[in-house]
Symmetry: C2
Subunit: 109 residues, 2 copies
Amino acid sequence: MHAFDVLADPVRRRALELMSQREQASGEIVKVVEAEFGLSQSAVSQHLRVLRDSGFASVRKDGAKRCYSVNPSGFEDVEAWLNQLRLYWGSRLEGLATEVERGKRRRGK
Amino acid sequence: MHAFDVLADPVRRRALELMSQREQASGEIVKVVEAEFGLSQSAVSQHLRVLRDSGFASVRKDGAKRCYSVNPSGFEDVEAWLNQLRLYWGSRLEGLATEVERGKRRRGK
DNA sequence: GACTAATATAAGTCGAAACTTATATTAATT
DNA sequence: AATTAATATAAGTTTCGACTTATATTAGTC
């Protein structure tokens, strides 16, 4: 499954958003997705598997719990493709670079 | 159709790659996709429609030809989502900003 | 205005991925 | 070791998007 296919699913994007803020146990993600999308625990678990297999998420065992966090390597292909496109196409680069810088400053450093 | 769904299709990504280099007539894209993916003119036309409708491509009429080019606005949602994720998650920002700068220099200024 | 070229749309088929329910695993608890 | 909690997997169904073929449009040419 291609990286863009992985990100095409709204549940998987939501899961990544949650993980990006702090490490999330599977159950925490299940609760949110259950509330927002009305999906079952099984469905969420299958989405998490996709995120693992495609390199977007990493898991840490904590007893019976599985703690998920974002794995940057999954994004490499996505970034590379977008960059490739931007390099020729040119515009909008400044806007993005600015946003990146803004983010750095916001976080201090 | 969500922006990430649009980019999830390899034919649509290829079409955008072509457009990003120079404006492309529909027929030029058809030839490439026919050769590389074995798809019909109709299939390509339907993909181009998706790219138009989702704001990733713009069309210019040149007689009977339709000339396609990349429309940056389609990427806004994608960029925004990726930025949002990066802001919390933090790492890999520097790499991207660097690449952006590299691209600027490569093109002069 | 008939003919060809270039592209778009209509209608219908097919496959793959996203679910559901049911069950299996894995680990802590009594 | 039985029970409960947390998560994963199996199997089967369904939905939806990506095709195909056929036809319609749109524009230039004789």
